[in-house]
Assembly symmetry: C2
């Protein structure tokens, strides 16, 4: 609120000091829930028993979590609003970001977040990805833009770690992992967008390097002044390469290139700053390489394998986006919860005496509905990311090839869902947070609107929601003769068994089982269409299939949490409030949401063809 002449009165007018719009008490994420998921549900203790993680203990994990929470709350969150309000600017061809980034970045690095899951050889701690995933939700919730610099750098360094030569590792990976330089993923081009087979950026061999020429767009962190140098992991086409994705190679292209002891300009230029509506702490740029014909790029791995390498990283990147979505929904949920507990307005349905005091709005059922829906999405999303990360850990480190294979299938299957559910349902949750704040939610004096803006990106980057739907139904589900789906249905069955044993209402278990059965039947039907060669018919309702499967998956996860809550209620009655909340949210999802599955199943089955038939001229 722009204040007129009487700021003190204004505080009263707005019901709340605008300067208090970022109350220090927002916890970002509920600690008890994260602990519940890590230790009660996912049993991280068992994961730590695997040989790869033997150096870690539950105590150590808790210390790491604690440090991440503190940094997020005390350092990152207070910088969020200032960074949102003063987005990056272009000054003399360079991008200037909020000066606080110079302080934040080393703090993030110091915490070990860049390479926490990496092995000791590259300076990492080899922490389970599960732990890293559930820790990273805090800095993301605190300051998505600031965390973005780190996430992108980790991805870029990881590509070189996996596929680069020893020389590239020393030159480019090491300074990124050390926190001295940052990295980017430079895939998108203006004419190509999601269609990577249309990448046109060119690479001409020139001895130990290539000369790069071309343009990229939407490059996050593509230029800034928070650190000395930036390494772009970019896709380009070597002269004479075959057309399509089989002719795309991966290059490391530094902003400044090392020549002897010096760093010299590498002909990388900022063509424009995109005015994003969210993530405003992190610049998104159009870049030009090689305007003067002097942009050196260094081939990573073999020629023409760029898309293959990128895809190997894509799982992790998509899980990171999923966690961005959960985090952004979480911080807004916490803010709207706090507001609902403190904002008096109206009276209960049965007590309309205007002389009675007003009640906090959390007392109204419809407000609790909006809060419980947010909670069910946020916490369901947290476990979705957590369980997918655990499959990733087991895919790499479980004992026995079969166990690893099975975990890999499940990780692959769940990844598009773990990316999409938080983006789409998270956006809905973020809109509910705005709604809970009423007119105040519609003003930029309060924070929920900024998280609503932040969230919208997650359905767009790292593969749009439409692309995730095609990936799920067109690739992940049919892979290996449907082995992943079979494994998933077995997991559901196992959870139903333990939930019954734990004392979860049998009707909930039956509901989840029934929904999984519907999913199975529809899947078989669609796979049949695919086998008959009718890919269009199979994929026509991939958007509905995604919603259906995501809803079933989250139903399974809430059943799992309900089982853990029953156990908790018996064993730790002092935490009853935590467990009762889990039971209510599980009921909300299982009794309230799984009923939607039948509709999506019918649509997938019917092949309803309105938008297939629709012609351009008819709109």
């Amino acid at each position: 609120m722009q204040v007129a002449r009487r700021p003190r009165r204004l505080t009263r007018l707005c019901g709340r000091n605008p300067l208090g719009a970022m109350p220090p008490q927002n916890p970002l994420v509920d600690d008890r829930t994260v602990d519940f998921i890590l230790f009660d549900v996912l049993d991280v203790g068992a994961l730590l028993a695997l040989p790869a993680f033997q150096e870690h203990t539950v105590e150590g994990v808790k210390i790491f979590l604690g440090a991440t929470r503190r940094l997020s709350r005390e350092v990152l969150y207070p910088a969020y609003k200032p960074m949102d309000e003063a987005p990056p600017r272009l000054v003399d061809g360079r991008v200037v970001v909020h000066p606080v980034m110079k302080e934040l970045y080393p703090r993030l690095v110091e915490l070990g977040l860049l390479n926490a899951t990496r092995p000791a050889e590259v300076g990492g701690q080899q922490l389970p990805f599960t732990v890293m995933t559930l820790a990273s939700v805090y800095p993301m919730a605190a300051n998505l833009g600031a965390y973005g610099y780190l996430g992108l750098t980790a991805g870029a360094a990881r590509l070189i770690e996996s596929f680069g030569s020893a020389a590239l590792k020393e030159r480019f990976m090491a300074p990124m992992y050390e926190g001295a330089w940052t990295g980017t993923m430079a895939l998108t081009e203006p004419q190509a967008g999601s269609s990577l087979s249309d990448v046109q950026c060119r690479a001409t061999p020139a001895g130990d390097h290539y000369l790069i020429r071309g343009s990229k767009i939407f490059i996050s962190g593509g230029d800034h002044d928070a650190v000395e140098n930036i390494v772009h992991l970019a896709l380009a086409r070597i002269d004479g390469a075959p057309p399509g994705i089989k002719g795309v190679s991966l290059f490391a292209i530094p902003r400044l290139r090392p020549e002897g002891e010096r760093l010299v300009p590498n002909d990388v230029h900022v063509a424009g700053v995109i005015h994003k509506i969210g993530w405003r702490g992190l610049p998104s740029l159009a870049l030009n390489y090689g305007e003067q014909g002097d942009c050196h790029g260094y081939l990573v791995g073999e020629p023409h394998r760029g898309i293959h390498y990128m895809f190997q990283m894509m799982n992790e990147a998509r899980l990171m986006v999923g966690m961005n979505g959960v985090a952004t929904a979480s911080v807004a949920y916490q803010e709207s919860l706090e507001y609902a507990r403190n904002r008096p307005q109206g009276r209960p349905l049965r007590s309309k005496d205007p002389r009675a005091p007003q009640v906090p709005i959390v007392a109204h059922e419809d407000v609790r509905r909006m809060l419980l829906r947010q909670k069910a999405i946020v916490e369901g999303g947290l476990l979705l990311l957590g369980v997918t990360a655990r499959y990733a850990d087991r895919a790499e480190h479980a004992e026995g090839a079969e166990a690893r294979q099975r975990a890999r299938w499940l990780q692959d299957l769940l990844t598009p869902i773990a990316k999409t559910f938080p983006a789409e349902r998270g956006f809905e949750a973020n809109a509910l947070a705005v709604q809970v704040l009423g007119g105040y939610g519609y003003s930029s004096e309060y924070l929920p609107e900024s998280w609503l803006r932040d969230q919208k990106l997650n359905s767009l980057h790292e593969g749009t929601t439409g692309i995730q739907g095609l990936d799920l139904l067109g690739r992940k589900v049919p892979a290996e003769g449907g082995a992943a789906m079979m494994a998933f249905l077995e997991e559901v069955g196992a959870t139903v068994g333990s939930a019954l044993e734990a004392g979860v209402p049998a009707s909930w278990c039956a509901r989840v089982e029934q929904a999984a059965g519907e999913l199975r039947d529809v899947t078989l039907h669609l796979l049949g269409l695919g086998q008959q060669g009718d890919a269009e018919a199979m994929l026509r309702h991939s958007a509905d299939y995604m919603e259906m499967m995501a809803t079933v998956v989250v139903g399974w996860l809430w059943l799992w949490m309900a089982a853990a809550a029953e156990k908790g209620l018996r064993e730790r009655p002092e935490d009853a409030a935590l467990f009762e909340g889990k039971r209510c949210a599980a009921q909300y999802w299982i009794e309230g949401e799984l009923g939607r599955v039948a509709h999506w199943a019918a649509l997938c089955r019917s092949g309803e063809d309105s938008y297939a038939r629709m012609q351009d001229a008819w709109f």
Copy 2:
């Protein structure tokens, strides 16, 4: 996009000139569809045959529409983006708005939009509200903020017209209808929000006026420099009034009060400007009345009847908000359609040859899904507002008391839906428009993000979505022993009959009939709970009931449009594209959306009680 050194290249980089982000070709709303709804579906010709509208002809209506379209496209729309970018500022205690408003407002007034539906005595043309409603969608789509000044003024003037004395009409109503002054609706107070029974603003009798003291918040158009004077229609409590809504009176409070020939300051002060996230052309303010004890208010009508008067106006205000929602979804739909037709990217599923040229994204089924969903929401919403407005016209002017009574019931019943459906599903449509533009949609160089921001207000003002749900199920449905719902079901039955006759697929008709039957059965069940005195149980799922009924209502309307399209295909084959589009959208809604009804019905019936049980401490 902030441009670096080479703007020309940037055009290519972005695929599109940022300055062209507001292409003149955006039609705002599809003219053919508005004509189809007015003349083919709603048969405005028949409405004009009523005695009240005898002075009007179909030709005259078309001329009025044409003038509104031109002004909207040529004058209002080009000012939208500049007004969004330069929101109102507080300068020396006064609000300064974008200077273009000084030009726009007289143009809007000149068109006759302020009092088009009012009788000749107050300078109006007594046009059917139906026509005004479907004309107003154009200026709203073009520039929601600019139109807001006019809509608020019309509402304020109308209150005085209906309830004020002759003196008040001359002093305050006349200059508002003439366009010299603007008006506001000053209801909300910081401590009260949606709870109008908690209004605290005080009015102390002082001869021919009252002295007003108190604070209001979220007052749209509450101060600005576009016209000379502003009249606030404000709720306040006369000293000694009873508590609650029965002690609230309505006052006209001018910013400058007429004293003889002069206008003198009336002790009305701006306490702060709220930084809204949308509608940024229209200021939203915190106001203080009577800081110096010299704020004169003039009682409108009788004491303690303020809420009663306001409620009489509320129907129209809520329909206006509904139309805001439709308009905001419409302009974004048109923009994303244009984009999808022109943006090449990717290739069809069956043709992955990377050497083949890319196709416009409208060729991808999932993009057409997003466009068709927008179309179904936008055009379903247009008819929803149109039909509700026609009931309003007939409630006032139909021949025979019975016909008027029936129309009034239907108007009352549909109003909360006509307010909520466009706000909620419109927001979803606006998010889809952003999604169609991909990364470009996430930048403020393109317009869809601004409409997404604009839209979010519509679920909040004029009664939140939660309040509309309670109004629908708690008041409108049970009123007069359910007479309105009975009338609605009869209307559906009649439409089913004529659709069958027109050649609409029998399966669509059966689907609509079945959905209406489900709605009827659930309604009877819930009314039974109410009759047993269990209001909580009856209203527990009012949010689900609202979604269910809105989906059925829009299904009914699409069936109606499908019938008109069948007729059109036979009679005007040259417009086949228009009619085919209507058939596809009808199919989309009837086959694709009505299947959701069973789920909501089951929830309403089961009384699923998770959020009822949920306690504050469990979140």
